[in-house]
């Protein structure tokens, strides 16, 4: 007699042709299967494997840094990346620019009924790769399914945990007159990559998103010994929004040199076409740093030595200004303000 008893009596998840349905969020067998066969398969580690309602983590030395970010980008797959990698990079970077070492991530998925499992698998694989590259472990997760038309494929919320050694303190309110401002590379790539895909613009060289985890670059910068006062990753609202935040938090003015700000020619051209300003456009793999003037050269050299900081540049300085205005000397020789955006320039870019 042949043995008909098969392991689990379960029909494997059809990742190639299957689609998300309501049962995948229903708390029943289908949900468990989606989690074990898709999410856990790619993302598992000793903490996720605990399988409890909460995950128990060892506490490191120093202080805890927490950050959370929801990702609703459209399209889900864009030149240079996808929502999976982006959802890891976005949160890892928020932790890293605090000067902390990112260690753990949690992820919440909102899936839309009908979403192809093959696409979901691609997204999860991309998350796994991004997490692995960034040296972080996904330690807790959640999945919900909403009816068709109530979502847009996939939304992902991630929370990041990192440790910050005692004595390290970076904050938006520490910029002082005389400090210099550095950027790690060209601005506007991510937003324009998304926009060019959405508007079907084609360029000779496709514009790729700069989505990347900055933990390595920040670690090198922190180790340089330079007195770094502020680090930020200029995502939504771009450089303009981030600099205005810092100016307001610190109660200082910022003067930029437009000619020093790296912008890729193809990004410049696309902005021209779409009527956008590269300074308002989101980045997902860039950071800005404010440091003491005497340390700027050293910091710049360290940044340029890192692959993600090759095009780093000093782009401006901090000065006294009770109104906390961000001003710029234009390439044209005039001056203008660099203001926060009014309204939204590009919806759903991250």
């Amino acid at each position: 007699m042949t043995n008909h008893v098969k392991k689990g009596y379960a029909r494997p998840l059809d990742i190639t042709h299957g689609r998300v349905d309501m049962s995948h969020g229903g708390g029943g067998r289908a949900m468990v299967q989606l989690i074990t066969d898709l999410f856990a398969r790619h993302l598992s580690n000793e903490y996720l494997a605990q399988g409890n309602d909460g995950t128990c983590l060892p506490l490191g030395k120093g202080r805890l840094v927490l950050s959370t970010d929801s990702h609703v980008v459209s399209p889900l797959f864009f030149p240079g990346g996808d929502i999976g990698g982006l959802s890891v990079h976005g949160t890892v970077n928020d932790v890293a620019v605090m000067g902390a070492t990112p260690l753990y991530l949690t992820a919440g998925f909102i899936l839309e009924e009908g979403f192809p499992l093959a696409d979901l698998a691609r997204i999860v694989e991309s998350m796994a790769k991004a997490a692995n590259d960034a040296g972080v472990k996904l330690v807790a997760g959640d999945t919900k399914v909403v009816e068709q038309g109530k979502g847009d494929g996939v939304f992902i919320t991630t929370t990041g945990v990192g440790f910050l050694p005692d004595g390290v303190h970076l904050s938006g309110d520490l910029a002082r007159p005389g400090d210099l401002l550095l950027v790690s590379g060209s601005v506007g790539d991510h937003g324009v990559a998304i926009m060019s895909k959405r508007e079907n613009l084609s360029f000779d060289a496709p514009i790729l998103s700069d989505t990347a985890a900055l933990h390595g670059l920040t670690a090198a910068m922190m180790a340089s010994g330079a007195t770094i006062k502020v680090m930020r990753d200029p995502t939504r609202g771009g450089l303009a929004a981030t600099l205005n935040e810092i100016a307001h938090q610190s109660g200082v003015g910022i003067h930029l040199e437009e000619a020093a700000i790296p912008v890729k020619p193809e990004v410049e051209a696309a902005c021209e076409l779409l009527g956008l300003d590269p300074l308002n456009i989101a980045n997902e793999g860039k950071l800005i740093a404010v440091c003491a003037a005497e340390d700027a050269d050293r910091l710049l050299a360290v940044m340029r030595a890192h692959p993600l900081g090759r095009d780093a540049a000093v782009i401006g300085r901090v000065l006294e200004d009770a109104n906390a205005f961000v001003q710029m000397k234009t390439r044209f020789g005039g001056r203008r303000m660099v203001d926060w955006l009014s309204g939204e320039q590009l919806p759903r870019i991250c």
């Binding site: 205005f325 001003q327 234009t330 303000m337 309204g343």
Partner: protein
């Protein structure tokens, strides 16, 4: 893209700035109006005024298609979306324009109106094809450059037999607006605002040519220079205007030799006049009723005219009483003369037309130049 940088080169700009400084007479002022919002934007964004001598002043004109849309017109579009269940397609800036009852197209969208932002009228046609069971209206705004594509879309819709597509036509005309400003009592009789010349938009002239401006030059003795949209184009145009004024000339000159001819694009003009005819009068936000300043869809294409199709009736709605847009557009006042500039009226909460799009005079000053007000008050 080398093409872009070439026209913004800082050194060339300095050279032009020196030439302007050398040629202006110190015993007089020069007030030039850049008609078009595109020029306003370039001037503010690149800080052109910093390169001009103090007695050369640029006045921002009414050439921003979003800013001049009157409240009543936006109300019509909102009515279509909310009361008639129509899909309203429009350009992005338009959705923020404040309308009656605290609404805007963006707020109407949040209340369930199906409002889609498009980059071109062809996108609206596509939406109509994809939604045969819905009515689709393209909310058409803009000056002469945007008119030919709308005309093509209407012809195309008819050729395809597209029954669910129509256009709410708010296309307006550049020369009539300039004439309205020149005819305004402040400029013509009182002489309180000496307007010494105009910079005309090159892209409009690629369609209508440079000839329509010849009338202003002759009749009103105002020099006109047609210029492209790069900041260097603007500087060059200012230099040409200064020379005309100094030499007592009032001619139409063309800085933008790249594509402008006296006749313009006659094929595009024929296309436009096949589909559109002049409206007797049209309300401009900031300027009020301006005779023969806009287009409507001809009877032969009545099926594609949203106004007729839905029996829409236009009701003028007054702007906020404190708003000085009208005076700003005529060059009589500046944004900071408005009591509510930057307090009640900001780019997030625009009260008047000039604050709506980044091309509007108030929005441009708020976004790019307001720090100068603080510097001025500190000294």
């Amino acid at each position: 893209m080398k093409y872009v940088d070439e026209y913004r080169d800082g050194e060339v700009a300095q050279g032009l700035a020196q030439a302007i400084a050398a040629e202006v007479r110190t015993d007089r002022r020069y007030n030039f109006m850049e008609f078009c919002g595109g020029h306003t934007h370039a001037i503010s964004r690149y800080g052109v005024p910093d390169l001009l001598p103090p007695n050369v002043r640029m006045i921002h004109g009414p050439g921003c298609p979003v800013c001049v849309l009157p409240i009543g017109r936006i109300d019509l579009a909102i009515q279509l979306a909310l009361e008639r269940g129509v899909i309203v397609c429009t350009y992005a800036d338009t959705v923020r324009v404040p309308a009656s009852g605290g609404l805007s197209l963006m707020k109407a969208k949040a209340r369930g109106g199906d409002i889609r932002m498009v980059y071109a009228v062809t996108d609206a046609l596509m939406i109509a094809r994809d939604n045969p069971d819905k009515e689709v209206v393209f909310f058409a705004i803009g000056f002469e450059t945007t008119t030919p594509p709308t005309a093509v879309a209407i012809q195309q819709a008819r050729a395809e037999g597209l029954k669910n597509f129509s256009v709410l036509c708010c296309h307006v005309l550049t020369p009539s607006a300039i004439m309205n400003i020149l005819e305004s009592p402040e400029v013509r009789e009182l002489g309180t605002v000496p307007l010494d010349g105009f910079i005309g938009p090159a892209h409009v002239s690629t369609v209508i040519g440079s000839r329509p401006y010849a009338y202003f030059a002759e009749e009103y003795r105002k020099p006109v220079v047609i210029a492209g949209f790069e900041p260097l184009d603007v500087m060059q145009a200012i230099l040409m205007l200064v020379r005309q004024v100094n030499e007592g000339r009032a001619e139409v000159e063309n800085e933008f030799t790249r594509a402008v001819t006296p006749e313009g694009n006659e094929k595009a003009q024929r296309l436009v006049s096949d589909v559109f005819e002049l409206r007797r009068s049209f309300e401009w936000r900031g300027l009020g009723e301006v005779p023969y300043s806009a287009l409507r869809i001809r009877d032969t294409y009545a099926d594609f005219d949203a106004e007729r199709r839905y029996g829409l009736e236009y009701w003028p709605v007054r702007d906020n009483k404190a708003c000085e847009c009208g005076a700003i557009l005529r060059g009589v006042k500046q944004p900071t003369d408005c009591k509510i500039f930057g307090t009640v009226c900001t780019p997030e909460t625009p009260m008047g037309s000039c604050m709506v799009s980044s091309e509007g005079a108030c929005a441009a000053h708020y976004t790019y130049g307001r720090y100068k007000d603080y510097e001025a008050s500190a000294t």
